[in-house]
Structure formats: C-alpha cells, structure tokens
C-alpha cells in the first residue's frame, strides 16, 4: 500500500483540520445570513478536534509517507502552539466579523486550511512539503488579509503582501533548487548527509543557503526583508493581524529551525554570520521604526519585527553552540529559548492585537492618541493591554521577561556578549513607545471618539487566557521551559 494507517495517524491533525475546513466551506452556502454564526464555533470545534488529534499524533512519533513527514517532539510542540493560536484567533474573530460586516464562512475555512499548511510546515522533513505547506498557509493568508475587500487599505495590504510574498517565494524556491542541485535530493536528512560528506560546502549549496535565508527571512519578517510587515499588519482585519504576527511567524520559525539545524547543520559555519547580522539589523529596524509610529497597529507591527530579532539572537546562539560539541545542554537551552520565546511572544502579541481589534473597529481609533483614557472607559481592556505591553517590554513577572532572559542567557553562553548588550539596549529603547501607550491610556482624558462596545464573552476569554498565560509564563516558567527543552531538534 502507498499509504499505511500509521501514516494517516501521523498527519491526523491536518486531516481533521481539512475535514472541518471542508465542512465549514460546504455549510456556508446552505446557511441563511442569520445562521452564519454557527460557522465560527464549528471551526473552533475543528481546532479542538485537531488538538485532540495532535495528542494521538504525539503517541506515534516517527517518519511517515516515505519520510516526507517526521513526527517528533519539535513538530508536536509547534502543532500545539499553532492550533492554540488558531483557536484564539477564531475566538477573537467571532464578533469582529459581524461588526465589520464580513461574516462569511470562507473566513474560517481559510483559517483552517491555512493552519493545515502551517501544521505541515511544522513536521515536514522534505523540501517539497515545506514549500507546499508554506504556500498553503501563505495563499490562505493573502486572501484573509484582503478580506475586507471594499476597504482600500485592506486590499492594498493584500496586494503588497501577495506581491512581496510571491517574490520571496521565488527566492526560497531558487534556494531549494540550488540545494537540490548540490545534493540531488530534497530530503532534509539526506541533504545533511551529503553536505557532511563534502569537506567544504559547494558553491551551489552556499548560494542555495543564502537564497533560502532570503525566502525564510521574509516569512519571519527579519530585516532587511521586513518592509511588508507594517503595511500588511495595518491594512489586514485586526484578528488576522494578530494571527499573522503569531501563527505564520511561528510556523516559519519552525521551518527555519528544522532546515537550518537538520539539513544545513554541516554548513552551519557558513550561515552563522548571516543570522547574526540579521538579528542585529532586525532589532534595530523594529525598535527604531516603532518609535516614530502614531498608528497603534503599525507600532505593534514594528514591535513584532523587533521581537523576531530577539528570537534570531537565540537562533544565532544555538548555531554558535553547534561547533561546541561538548556543551550539548547549552545548545538545547538555546533552542528551547527560541521555542519558549515564541510561546510567550504569541500570547502577548495575540492579546495586544485582540484588544486593538476590539477598540479600533473599522477605520476608527487607529491612533495611539485615540486610546486616551481607555482606563476610565474600560478598565478591563486597559489592564489587559497594559499587561501585554509590559510583557513586550520584558519587565519581570511577565513571559516577555523570561523569554528575553533565556535568550540572552543562551547568547552569553555562546560568547555573543556584544549581541546581548545591543539586545538590552534595544529593550531599553522599546520602553519608550510601549510606555507611551500605557501613559495615554491611564493619564490622558478620554477623547470624544472613544466609544467602546462591551467586551463580548469570546473576546473576554481570549484576553483573560492571554493575560493569565503571560503572567503564568512570567511567574512559573519551569514547566513550559521543560517542555520546550524536550522538544528541541536533536
């Protein structure tokens, strides 16, 4: 048989998601407008079922589909993270869509299908599959970004995201082609084996790595390939912005880690410099850019660029530690730092954008100044946003703090002191723009336009979950960090 039953079990979450996506899509035309509300919960059930399926998948680790898929702890970890992000996004979208008058089942179907792509990325062991997973999630998000299609900004950002995304895809593909040319295979472990058998990586492989980095760097929004981020984040429907800043980024990092630490591991010296420089550039571009923003979505967009930079520091550290065979534990810690940071980052970013999605309905309340006096109008929202912003700064007792702590620790262990210092400098820089929002919310008088509807229950759940999660990671990071260190790549 071409496909065995264990094969199926190892992609069960994706199958479940796809089936529910089809259900949502198929039900859409048969529902009257008043009943479209059931599609969101249906999608949510799908994600929950996929979470359960991930547990099943976790019980059957190993290769599947002729080694196209490698189900390991790393993949399972990302599956959980990605599914949680999708679930929170759906919850945050429930009321938002009704309010924005774009309540169509296709939205949820696209989210689910996009998550299928991201799930595949997390467990892919082969470049064809990586590429297809990446494109599945990208094309779904291109559409989602432009979902408010009569809105000028929305379709502008869809256009920019699409053009630059496809551009980056072409680079990624060229990179893959060159790697294929250098090794004659597209399986990650085989690439590693063949590259390892050469003394120095061939010219083709090196060029391939560079091109791959361009493509993946775009997907994680690292400098200098970050230009699309603010525009796309600003124009997209805000729950999608939240999703974009967490989901595809996490999935892209998963692929990034897997390709670079599995396939390209023998050539790691070659790409260390790129990562290092990119981390630095990304942090500065993100933080300096955020400083001058007045639009809150753009500000958060730049902040997410900056955070990609922090993650890249840990990435560089893990890479540097590859040479040091002895210090196995330090390398694991460095990689676990990436995973931990991603979780913390996803929680706080999702939460922050969820608040923005509720306050900045339609085209209103986009400016930071519009948040003046949010505290007096809506203490719950203000408090949640404050927690997320403080966590983004990296103040103690928040997930953001410990994330940075682990990252910088890893960097110190890898002797990347300069990188750490510059990272800290950046964190200090970032205090300015995050605190400005907090100050505006608490100190300033509310403006006339700030009328906020009461928080609907699903959104309240999302915010509470994210806020508590952020605090939990900040107070008791142990469990999650443990899990993360067991989920690293070998």
């Amino acid at each position: 048989m071409i496909v065995s039953s264990t094969d199926v079990l190892r992609v069960l979450p994706e199958i479940v998601l796809a089936v529910f996506g089809l259900l949502v899509m198929g039900a859409e035309p048969f529902l009257r407008r008043a009943h479209k509300g059931v599609l969101g919960p249906l999608a949510l059930v799908g994600v929950a079922a996929a979470l359960a399926a991930t547990v099943v998948q976790g019980l059957h680790p190993g290769y599947a589909f002729n080694r196209l898929i490698h189900v390991d702890n790393f993949g399972i970890f990302f599956h959980f993270v990605l599914l949680a992000i999708t679930a929170l996004t759906i919850l945050a979208s429930l009321r938002y869509l009704e309010r924005e008058n774009i309540n169509h089942g296709e939205y949820y179907a696209l989210l689910l299908f996009g998550t299928v792509g991201m799930g595949v990325m997390a467990v892919a062991n082969e470049l064809v599959l990586v590429f297809l997973g990446l494109e599945t999630s990208s094309i779904a998000t291109y559409v989602l970004v432009g979902f408010r299609r009569t809105e000028l900004k929305s379709n502008e950002s869809a256009m920019k995201y699409f053009l630059l995304g496809s551009f980056a895809t072409a680079f990624l593909l060229y990179g893959i082609a060159l790697l294929f040319g250098a090794t004659g295979t597209t399986f990650l472990p085989d690439i590693a084996r063949l590259l390892g058998s050469q003394d120095t990586p061939s010219m083709l492989a090196l060029m391939g790595i560079a091109m791959l980095f361009v493509g993946l760097g775009f997907k994680v929004a690292s400098a200098p390939f970050q230009v699309w981020t603010p525009d796309v984040y600003e124009g997209a429907p805000t729950p999608i912005t939240a999703f974009l800043s967490a989901g595809p980024k996490a999935a892209a990092f998963a692929v990034f880690l897997r390709i670079f630490f599995t396939a390209l591991e023998p050539a790691h010296e070659a790409w260390f410099g790129i990562i290092w420089a990119s981390a630095l550039l990304t942090m500065f571009v993100g933080n300096l850019g955020a400083l001058v923003q007045t639009n809150i979505k753009r500000m958060l967009a730049y902040s997410s660029i900056a955070h990609a930079g922090y993650i890249l520091i840990a990435f560089a550290a893990a890479n540097q530690l590859l040479t040091d065979v002895a210090d196995e534990q330090a390398r694991v810690n460095a990689m676990a730092a990436v995973l931990f940071y991603l979780v913390a980052y996803a929680l706080m970013k999702l939460g922050a954008f969820a608040v923005v999605a509720h306050v900045s309905a339609g085209e209103r309340n986009q400016d930071i100044d519009d948040y003046a006096g949010l505290h007096s109008r809506h203490p719950f929202l203000a408090a949640c946003l404050t927690i997320f912003l403080l966590s983004l700064i990296g103040l103690p007792l928040t997930g953001g703090f410990l994330g940075k702590f682990y990252v910088f620790t890893a960097a110190v262990q890898a002797d990347l002191i300069w990188l750490v210092i510059l990272g800290v400098v950046n964190s200090v820089l970032s205090v300015a723009y995050y605190l400005r929002v907090v100050k505006v919310m608490y100190m300033n008088e509310p403006g006339g336009t700030l009328t906020v509807a009461p928080v609907p229950a699903p959104l309240a759940f999302v915010l509470t979950f994210a806020a508590l999660g952020t605090l939990y990671l900040g107070v008791m990071p142990g469990t999650v960090f443990q899990i993360a260190s067991r989920s690293t790549l070998p």
Partner: protein, 166 residues
C-alpha cells in the same frame, strides 16, 4: 554545431529576449506575450533536457491556463499602458545595483560551479512519464494531496475576493 546546440542558442536567446521584452514593454499585453514566448521556449528546452512531461505541463498549465488568466484580466480591466513614473529612490540607488551585482555574480558562479564537460545526455528514465507518475503518486502522494487543499484555497480565495456581491 549539432541541431541541439543550435536549438539551445536560438531558444535560450528567445527566452532572454522575451524576458527583456517583458520588463521593457510598457503595455501589459505585450509583457504577457513576451512571457508566453519565454515559457514556450523553456518548454522546448525542457524537451531537450528530456523532460517531456514537464514540457507539456509547462505549455498546458503555464502558457495555456495561467497566462490566459493574465491576458483575460488585462482585457477585462482594459489595462492601458503603464504610466511613466520615476522609480522610488530606494529602488534606483540601492535595489537595482545590488540586484544586478548579485545576479551577475550568481550567473558567473553558476557558470563556474560545474565543469563544462557536463553535457546534456540521454538517459532511459528521462522522458518517460511512467517513473515520474510513480514518484508523484507513491513517494509524493502527501504533497499531491496537499495541492488539492491549496487549489481549494485558491478557488475559495478568488471567489471571495473578486465576486461582485457576497
């Protein structure tokens, strides 16, 4: 000079000319036609390289479906000639030189990467559709299934975006 060599130079030249024309023409229809020319010459090059199936797919899907869609949209929107505007300074002073340097470097490196005595040569499993099909439906069955979701997304997305009323 054998027939193959001549064909390579002619078709390669056509492809480069088409690509140049694509970026130099101001009317999108002409650009699209140039791109079709590139695709057609590439298809014949694929034949020379022994990839018959890919050559056919290239014409059927790429030139026969995707580019038709382009032409269709250009006609539908009645897109006129591109306005002549100045390039953004960023693109002109940084982007283009960097791109030019990088890519000529790339071309040179690729030229150096392989010895010149590696020639195109026939091989039994090239040009057969069967091994390709077996690979596609046995080894790569999962990606193949994934493409169905991908296409579903594309259809769904295109309908959601471009439909007049929802």
């Amino acid at each position: 000079m054998t027939l193959e060599t001549v064909l390579f130079y002619v078709l390669g030249g056509l492809a480069v000319l088409g690509a140049l024309n694509l970026i130099l023409q101001r009317h999108p229809i002409h650009s699209a036609l140039s791109l079709i020319l590139v695709m057609a010459s590439l298809a014949v090059l694929y034949l020379l390289l022994g990839a018959e199936f890919i050559a056919a797919v290239q014409i059927i899907i790429y030139a026969g479906a995707i580019m038709v869609l382009f032409v269709f949209v250009i006609m539908l929107l009645n897109a006129g000639e591109e306005e002549r505007t100045n390039l953004s300074r960023m693109a002109r002073y940084v982007g283009l030189p960097v791109a030019a340097v990088l890519l000529s470097g790339l071309a040179y490196l690729l030229y150096r990467a392989w010895p010149v005595d590696l020639l195109v040569q026939p091989h039994p499993s090239l040009g057969q559709t069967r091994p390709l099909a077996e690979m596609l439906f046995k080894d790569f069955v999962l990606p193949f299934e994934l493409t169905s979701i991908l296409i579903l997304i594309a259809v769904l997305g295109a309908v959601v975006l471009a439909k007049k009323e929802l």
